[in-house]
């Protein structure tokens, strides 16, 4: 277990640095879409939920896994959906206005 821990820590630290560098560059204009997008990406937890629910180890773990599937998948679908909706609203003055 500690062996896994170290390799995970390795990945965590590197991902944290990458995250810091790219998020710093996100325009404050887009901070709301940033939050909804990272939320949708974070919903990748659904893959773990699918495995927990699909293994059927105990009745409890299956039920908890299924709740987790619904909760995280709603974030994934809703997060991408609203982020795209928001980004479509950002227009420059030159483009013709729709609606």
């Amino acid at each position: 277990m500690p062996q896994d821990f170290l390799s995970n820590l390795y990945v965590f630290i590197l991902a944290g640095f990458v995250g810091f560098e790219i998020i710093k560059r996100v325009s404050p204009l887009l901070h709301t879409p940033l939050m909804s997008l990272t939320n949708a990406l974070d919903a990748i937890v659904v893959v773990a939920a699918i495995i927990i629910a699909g293994r059927h180890e105990t009745r409890l773990s299956t039920i908890l896994g299924l709740i987790a599937i619904a909760a995280s998948f709603s974030n994934m679908v809703g997060g991408f959906f609203i982020t795209d909706r928001m980004l479509r609203m950002f227009k420059t003055g030159k483009q013709p206005k729709k609606s």
């Binding site: 821990f5 990945v11 965590f12 991902a15 810091f20 790219i22 998020i23 325009s27 404050p28 204009l29 887009l30 901070h31 709301t32 879409p33 940033l34 939050m35 997008l37 990272t38 939320n39 990406l41 974070d42 990748i44 937890v45 659904v46 893959v47 773990a48 939920a49 699918i50 495995i51 927990i52 699909g54 293994r55 059927h56 105990t58 409890l60 773990s61 299956t62 896994g65 299924l66 709740i67 987790a68 599937i69 909760a71 995280s72 998948f73 709603s74 974030n75 679908v77 809703g78 959906f81 609203i82 909706r85 928001m86 980004l87 479509r88 609203m89 950002f90 227009k91 420059t92 003055g93």
Partner: protein, 463 residues
């Protein structure tokens, strides 16, 4: 295909997903490439979910599919809310993310017990504590933003002591579980205590502090997912969680700086105290008020106008009327720009999405520092529903609770106009000396109808 080969294929899909996740955020650096970012994010998510469904360990897909459909059924309507409701939707999505991470952590414990190692217990304990407190904390935040719960801070004596004791209890229970992971009676108690702590953490926080709180909860939700990655030894979760966690963390720091609160202050969540005004006895000061007609005259004659929106604009749903004002003034050749304070509204970037929804071009939305260098050359600063972010006391009055907070220097414009319901102090209860300046005109009324009146006076179309 052998099981090992399938597993390698699944892992490869996860690696591609991780790369796409990073690209997705990278492309958010500009509104031009941002939508491409969403697309790669979606591809990555579809790839990862698809690969997972191919996992040979799975059996019986029926309920998994049903729950995916339920999730989509909840997610799509939540993705369709109005831009004014985005803060509460975001808080709710943090709650769902944290709920999901805690459920899996709890399941992992019960599947493993009594063979959970001490080290594994430490990981699960931390993950479940953070996930649970983020779940209830985010629900409270969403409730406050939706105004189901009172937005004002709810405080009582000894609050910090009570909250910290509850957190302490959760940690003690986690330590007891690490000493003896098989003691499964303690586990549900630890979960309940953590859920309680989440409630206590957010209840005392007022609406004006929500941008910081939402960012902080975002960070917690991300880190709980990353910790879950440690528990399950899943690198894709570690990376996604680290990205989400650091995003929330950076936003919290930005929000803190924009409110001049210290970093420690944020980490321990000890903010949102009610601050009472130190200056109550200055009622003799006079204010100048103006009608919509006068305001329209001044705005129409200006060559440069800066509009400063705040949460009040969102509450009054005035953004579409503001857009009409923008159009009417632009048509007359007036240069109109919007000064956006980082903490205006209820979440980071809230004003930008509201104004973008009203079709205001994003190159007109100006960050605080750029706006401030331009305000001394501005004829009129029009403040709509913003208060503390324009309060000059933050610069000059050391006794003010917001002293040191960076503000939009609207008082440097030649004329200041403030649309406000009445002279009642703003949300934080802090008096704003700006209103008593000679160059300030108060426009008393509802933001939406007042802006509509100005537009009508300007001869624009106000329907």
């Amino acid at each position: 295909m052998t099981q090992i080969a399938t597993q390698q294929l699944i892992d490869s899909a996860y690696i591609v997903a991780v790369v796409f996740f990073i690209l997705a955020i990278k492309w958010l650096s500009s509104p031009v490439s941002a939508r491409r970012g969403v697309l790669v994010g979606e591809i990555a998510a579809a790839l990862a979910v698809g690969a997972t469904l191919a996992n040979p360990e799975l059996s019986q897909y029926k309920w998994i599919i049903i729950c995916l459909i339920i999730g989509a059924g909840i997610g799509i309507p939540l993705g369709m809310v109005h831009m004014t409701a985005v803060p509460q939707r975001t808080a709710l999505s943090h709650a769902f993310g944290a709920l999901s991470a805690s459920m899996i952590g709890i399941a992992e414990y019960y599947v493993g017990v009594p063979n959970v190692t001490r080290f594994g217990m430490g990981e699960i304990g931390l993950e479940v504590i953070i996930g649970s407190l983020t779940f209830t904390g985010s629900l409270i935040a969403a409730g406050k933003l939706q105004e189901i719960l009172p937005q004002r801070p709810i405080v009582y004596k000894g609050q910090n002591l009570v909250s910290l004791s509850v957190l302490g209890a959760a940690i003690v229970l986690a330590i007891a579980l690490i000493v003896n992971p098989a003691n499964s009676v303690l586990f549900p108690i630890m979960v309940i205590v953590s859920l309680l702590f989440g409630i206590l953490l957010v209840t005392p926080i007022g609406g004006a502090d929500m941008p910081t709180v939402i960012s902080l909860l975002n960070s917690y939700a991300g880190f709980s997912a990353a910790l879950l990655g440690f528990v399950l030894n899943s690198k894709v979760l570690v990376v996604a969680g680290a990205l989400d966690g650091s995003s929330g963390f950076i936003l919290s720091v930005i929000m803190c700086k924009a409110m001049n609160r210290s970093f420690t202050n944020v980490m321990f969540g000890a903010f949102g105290q009610v601050q009472t005004s130190t200056k109550a006895a200055e009622e003799a000061r006079t204010v100048r008020s103006a009608s919509a007609e006068e305001a329209a005259g001044i705005l129409g004659a200006a060559s440069k106008v800066a509009i400063v929106p705040g949460y009040g604009m969102a509450v009054a749903q005035a953004q579409h009327k503001v857009r009409e004002l923008y159009d009417a003034l632009t048509k007359r050749g007036v240069d109109v720009r919007f000064g956006i304070h980082p903490v205006a509204g209820r979440m980071p970037g809230h004003m930008n999405v509201l104004l973008a929804e009203a079709d205001i071009p994003y190159d007109r939305l100006i960050e605080m520092d750029d706006m401030n260098s331009d305000l001394p050359q501005t004829d009129v600063a029009l403040i709509i529903g913003a208060n503390d972010v324009t309060n000059p006391a933050a610069r000059s009055d050391q006794s003010s609770p917001i002293y040191g907070m960076p503000i939009l220097d609207v008082d440097k414009a030649r004329t200041v106009m403030v649309i406000k319901r009445s002279m009642n102090p703003g949300f934080a209860g802090i008096d704003n000396p700006l209103y008593y300046f000679d160059k300030t005109l108060m426009l008393f009324g509802d933001a939406k109808s007042f802006v509509a009146d100005i537009v009508r006076e300007l001869g624009g179309n106000s329907h």
